[in-house]
Amino acid sequence: MTTRPGPTVRQSVALVWRTLRSMRTALILLLVLAVGSVIGSLLPQIPNSPERVGRYLDDHGVWGTFLFRAGFFDVYGSWWFALITTLLFVSLAACLFPRTRAMMRALRQRPVQARELDAFRHHAELRVDHGPDAVAADAARYLRRKRFRVSRQDDGVAAEKGVLREVGSLLFHWAFFLLLVGVIVGKGTGFTGRAVVTEGETWIDARANYDGEIRTGRYFGGAHTGLGIELLDFDDSYRRNGLPIDFVSRLRFRDREGSPLGVEEIRVNHPTSRDGVRIFQEGFGWAPVVTAALDGESMWSSPIEMTRDEAPDGVPATAMPWRGAIKLTAPEPDVMISLELWSDYRAFANLQLTGRPTPMLVQFDPLIRYSVYVGRIADPARSSIDTRGLRRVARGDLHAARSDGTDVPGVGELTLSFPELRQYSVLLISRDVGIPMVLAAAILVLVGLIPALYVSRRKVWVRAEAAPGGALVKIGGFALQRKDSFENEFDAIVRAVGARSSASQRTSERPGPDERVTTS
């Protein structure tokens, strides 16, 4: 029994390479990438909106789980997206190597002479009354002046123009590799995270100080700068109609040792950079300073970075109160004080009186409404307000610059005060050393694209032979692009070649109408 021999390894490799080399493969891969991107824009994505992914999973059962496993909720970070991109770039490289080699060769070579000039799409024949040498010299001069690359051999002239098209096209295509390198290096060695800094406080760039998740590249060694960022002041300004004008953080930077480096303002769209990290204004919020004492012993006196309640439909976000909590685990049982802040008392009063929500755009007699809970705190995280396992024992109001006291049964006498209302600023901190490369690649893409699209390649040959009373001149040529405008250019060349002659006579026809129909 014999089996037919399968293709050898060499044959298979050659086949794969041939497939990758074809432009069709590259374009199909590009379109597949586009389809993948579309899917990513239609399904919620984990990096952008994890809550929506959770909801989708809850609603879609097995189907959702399947999509999840296949990476459809993180399309742009999925293995298959990376695979398609890799194949695309391999294919692109396979396309580009032979083209680049051919272009190098063409650039080094002088234009090659041709024989049968009347075989070209555009051709003409002239009778002139001067010698072939003068004709060839005239033709070469004219074509050079028209920026053709010209080579002359005896009485024959070969000229071509428009190599810039291929140069531009190759530049354009190769630039994507620079883009890829820029993206990989930048994302691979960089990170992005968020810093929450309250007015008057200093935040240090170190892993532990980031708020929530920090996204780091695979090759980011964890070397944070130790840069200190002190928020001197945050300012949010609004128009009368409640639309924001700007959000500005005034920052003082400090080096590792804590010495000040200078003060800078950052605002939306105007980030700054220090020690290789860029710092962006991203968000802000209220951070009331609240003190809590039990039986006269101070338990807490720090700003509390609050989060704003989500606004229901039709209610401006600025009308919603802010929430935070103080958690005291030293006493037995635990004490949690949940706080609800109204930065503008008038908005609170208005809501009580008329039921209408009012935007709070400025600080005006701020009010904190508090509730005191005792029991066992389930979630010790500073930002969570989880009342599971807790029992409310008291509530009250606290106005700025005043204090309020209440007896907490079994724990002691609680005194709260609200000395000042500060703001905090959320700063996006990121490091991406690939940005200059990506920008350079983008510029090269554009610079290459323009000649790749608009320059047309054309070739022209002129050949003169001695004839009785002068010379017989044959001119031939073609254009690979913009064939219709080449017709005029060709006519001008024919006229220029015969110009010196007092009695030049064109004896050939222009391309016939049936040929013209196919021009593009």
Partner: protein
């Protein structure tokens, strides 16, 4: 009259003038009276002027560049589509028959803007207040308007190409002529071809008949306009990335708007390859261009209306 009122009056006027010019342009296609075409053109230019007044007055009213929300993008888009058609298609390519369709596109664009995204002139939110976004938006709208013209030309090309093929098949084997696209219409100037069967009766040249210019001419103008649009769109995407880097700390985040502008870019890159390299002229390339046009409309409308993202600034 204050600037906001002027802008909104000019907007209404624009809509009516475009509508009138559109009807006149189609009347010209049907009747082929040069006078109709001349009047249509005057009305279209008047409409474009009113459109420009509406844009400028809006800028004065809002005290900023007048392209800050969907309503304003649409006003500018409608203007550029009409002007682009008058300049490139009528002026450079000498094709008169596209104008009515471009006017129709602009009328729809303005009507949709008035119905779905009316906004009073107002200042921009801080994230939108950067000069990169001004550049980005101008490039994106210019690119979109040219892609739209290319899309319109391509759709007409497909219609005309089909009727030319049918007409050829009539010449060959006598299938009845189609009605749509009007390959063989009684009132059109016909170039006469010798009858292929040589029976002596002259047959019409399918490329010349009907209300539309030849398929080859439509294909050519579509290609040129799209090739012109492509680098502009590329630049728009790059400018958008530069702005995103400043505003959000990353140049690319696969936000739906970014994703769809990439998809549109990809499809038109495919079209250009099909046309200029693979020699895929004609129908197959045209289908890619139509897909690109649809993708452009999704980028423009659907993303702002239905898909949530950082870019959804429809309310300014």
């Amino acid at each position: 009259m204050n600037a906001a009122r002027l802008s909104s009056t000019a907007f209404d006027l624009t809509l009516w003038l475009y509508l009138g010019a559109m009807v006149l342009s189609f009347a010209y296609l049907a009747a082929r009276r040069d006078l109709l075409w001349k009047v249509a053109r005057v009305v279209a230019i008047a409409g474009a002027s009113a459109n420009l007044v509406s844009i400028v007055a809006r800028g004065v009213a809002a005290q900023r560049v007048p392209w800050g929300n969907m309503f304003e993008y649409s006003t500018v888009l409608a203007f550029l589509v009409v002007v682009g058609t008058l300049v490139f298609v009528e002026g450079v390519a000498k094709i008169k028959t596209l104008t009515g369709f471009s006017l129709m596109f602009s009328v729809l664009t303005l009507a949709i803007a008035a119905m779905f995204f009316p906004v009073e002139p107002s200042p921009l939110q801080p994230a939108l207040n950067s000069y990169w976004i001004k550049i980005h938006v101008v490039a994106a709208i210019t690119g979109s308007s040219l892609f739209a013209i290319g899309g319109i030309a391509t759709i007409l090309f497909l219609i005309k190409d089909r009727s030319e093929r049918r007409a050829l098949s009539v010449l060959r084997d006598g299938t009845p002529p189609p009605i749509m696209g009007g390959a063989i219409e009684i009132d059109a100037p016909h170039d006469l071809l010798p009858d292929p069967e040589g029976s002596g009766t002259p047959a019409p040249d399918p490329a010349r008949g009907g209300v539309l210019p030849s398929a080859a001419a439509l294909d050519r103008v579509a290609y040129r306009v799209i090739a012109f649009a492509f680098p502009i769109w590329t630049f728009a995407v790059i400018a958008g990335a530069i702005w995103a880097q400043d505003a959000w700390g990353r140049y690319w985040g696969w936000d739906p708007k970014e994703t769809w502008s990439f998809v549109t870019w990809t499809i038109f890159a495919g079209y250009l390859h099909a046309r200029s390299t693979a020699g895929w002229k004609g129908r197959r390339a045209a289908v890619i261009a139509v897909v690109g046009f649809v993708s452009l409309l999704i980028t423009y409308y659907a993303v702002n209306l239905w898909i949530v993202g950082l870019h959804s600034y429809k309310n300014g």
